[in-house]
Amino acid sequence: MYVEIIFHGRGGQGAVTAANVLAGAAVREGKWSQAFPHFGAERRGAPVRAYARISDEPISRHSQIYAADIAVVLDDKLFELVDIVSTVKKDGVIIVNTAEQKIDLDKGKRNLYCVDAVSIAKELGLIVAGWPVVNTAMLGAFSALTGIVSLESIVEEIKANWPGKTGEANAEAARRAYKLVSKCGV
């Protein structure tokens, strides 16, 4: 097993943190992993990306990821700004945080899945600096769809990163998204 994952988000949304938590969760299961930001200037609100690799064996590659197996999109409006589809393999999976269930991927027929991580965050009071926290929910959705890393490992890694109530709320967001994520698109 060797998979490459790309996270598309906006600066401040926690794309890099999500990649790091995923890598940590994979290591909890005895897997090898790597996570790193796209190395460039970052601004709050601007499109950013982060990468992760997960494997059963040690990972030698260090280059950026150009055609991921899975893309996790933290904001559906990014489709208007970034050519997200071109960053994913033709048979790859795209998981989007969206309240709408109709995202039109006119550039290719990637497997598209949706979850409303914003509503989950709001229900759990996960708001930081005015923004709903969506990155941890998206990891729950990732686990449900790919099975590469278990929900349990993701929850453990979240709690290790944020002790106390914050960790528990983020863990609950991952659990809810795990259940709610579904196939979408037109």
């Binding site: 940590g24 790193f36 040690p58 030698s60 590659r61 280059s63």
Partner: protein, 406 residues
């Protein structure tokens, strides 16, 4: 301690703590890294028994570390890029003083223009200074090398400071699993600090005094002798570390799929991992290619180079730096090691990835494949400076700079 996912920077900081560093000095402004930030936090929270000295420049950061080390404790600092260049004078003073010391270098490009990404120009710029210079491929190796650096630097056959290089962002800001031994295991493996002399208020040593020309000459001679002796020490330490912690890397170089190789890749740093993947790709295609990863730039692994590539059909070096007006650094060192043997094989010195330009495994494979095909087609190839340009410039400029001038 279980395996943790850490950035390369944190791996360095934990290694320094486990080595029981007593003084950390740093200039806490860019281009400083989270290495020193992590150490400062551990000291502040009482998790590390050390003194943090905040200074006003990198020049002073190393001077303070040198002072502390001269007084008999393990001292540590870290820097990068322009910080390292600003420190350059004290880099020489430290090696000349023969004071064991360890410094981490997050390897990054040098301006202008500003560029903060990975490059080996900053670290190779220190090559003549009398420091041992190592460079890692992975976060695990960053951790292991940092711990080992204290034992190597403090060996009485060496008594020279050591740099541990980790590629900027590619290792420094990337999280990956790192297996860290427990404190007692490091304590058992790492001997008490030794050094040639200790300065105290009572001792009557003079540091950096004027010497006769002849004595100066002989002190230079002794640094060279220590560098030569360090080769065995590095191999011994690598072996002993492997016996205790299960990880050995091969000494001054790592040999990858070289057993039956007719062609060889020479490369250093994190992108050696991508180059290894390229070797795997080419092996699957039937190309008899292996890889030599340079772990120590100083002392330079002359004997390993001769041993592995002396009878090679072709050698291709990948440099993430250039000595303007000459060649890439690894290329020059390789040819100089081979001596008369160099005339018998084909060589290509590739200059790529400057300023962090990404070179994925498939691109490495393309460049290596082209070289081997060319040698097989045309016989001997001598191509000392081949610029593997960024893709958008490849059709606009020739790969050999001489052609631009003509």
């Amino acid at each position: 301690m279980p395996v943790k996912t850490l950035t390369g920077n944190k791996a360095v900081a934990y290694a320094a703590r486990l080595a029981r560093v007593k003084v950390v000095s740093a200039y806490p402004i860019t281009p400083q890294t989270t290495i020193v930030e992590t150490l400062a936090s551990m000291i502040e929270h009482g998790e590390m028994d050390a003194k943090m000295i905040r200074v006003e420049s990198e020049h002073s950061a190393l001077a303070a570390a040198l002072g502390a080390a001269s007084a008999g404790v393990r001292a540590f600092t870290a820097t990068s890029s322009h910080g390292l260049l600003y420190m350059h004078e004290v880099v020489w003073w430290t090696a000349g003083a023969r004071v064991p010391l360890v410094m981490a270098i997050v390897t990054r490009a040098i301006g202008p223009p500003w560029n903060i990404h990975v490059d080996h120009q900053d670290i190779w710029d220190q090559r003549d200074s009398g420091w041992l210079i190592s460079i890692a491929e992975s976060n695990q190796e960053v951790f292991d090398l940092t711990v080992q650096a204290f034992r190597i630097s403090e060996d009485e056959r060496v008594y020279l400071p050591m740099m541990v290089g980790l590629d900027g962002f590619i290792l420094s800001h990337t999280v990956a699993p790192v297996d860290m031994p427990e404190q007692h295991e490091i304590d058992e493996w790492l001997p008490e600090r030794k050094q040639p002399y200790v300065i105290t208020p009572e001792t009557q040593y003079v540091m950096g005094n004027l010497a006769t020309d002849e004595d100066y000459y002989m002190m230079r001679y002794s640094i060279q002798a220590a560098m030569e002796a360090a080769k065995d020490v590095i191999k011994e330490v690598d072996k002993s570390f492997g016996e205790n912690f299960g990880r050995s890397y091969g000494g001054l170089v790592e040999r990858y799929r070289v057993e039956d190789a007719k062609y060889h890749v020479i490369v250093a740093g994190s992108w050696a991992g991508d180059a290894k993947e390229a070797v795997n790709i080419l092996r699957d295609e039937g190309y008899p290619v292996g890889l030599l990863r340079v772990r120590f730039f100083r002392p330079w692994p002359t004997e390993d180079i001769v041993d592995v590539v002396g009878s090679s059909k072709g050698v291709i070096t990948f440099d993430r730096s250039v000595s303007f007006g000459a060649r890439g650094h690894l290329f020059m060192e390789t040819i100089s090691s081979l001596g008369p043997l160099a005339g018998k094989l084909s060589v290509r010195g590739v200059i790529a990835g400057l300023g962090g330009v990404d070179v994925p495994a498939e691109e490495f494979a393309m460049v290596i494949r082209e070289f081997i095909d060319e040698v097989e087609r045309e016989g001997q190839v001598y191509d000392p400076a081949y610029w593997h340009l960024p893709s958008q410039y490849r059709d606009m400029y020739p790969s050999r700079v001489e052609e631009v001038v003509r």
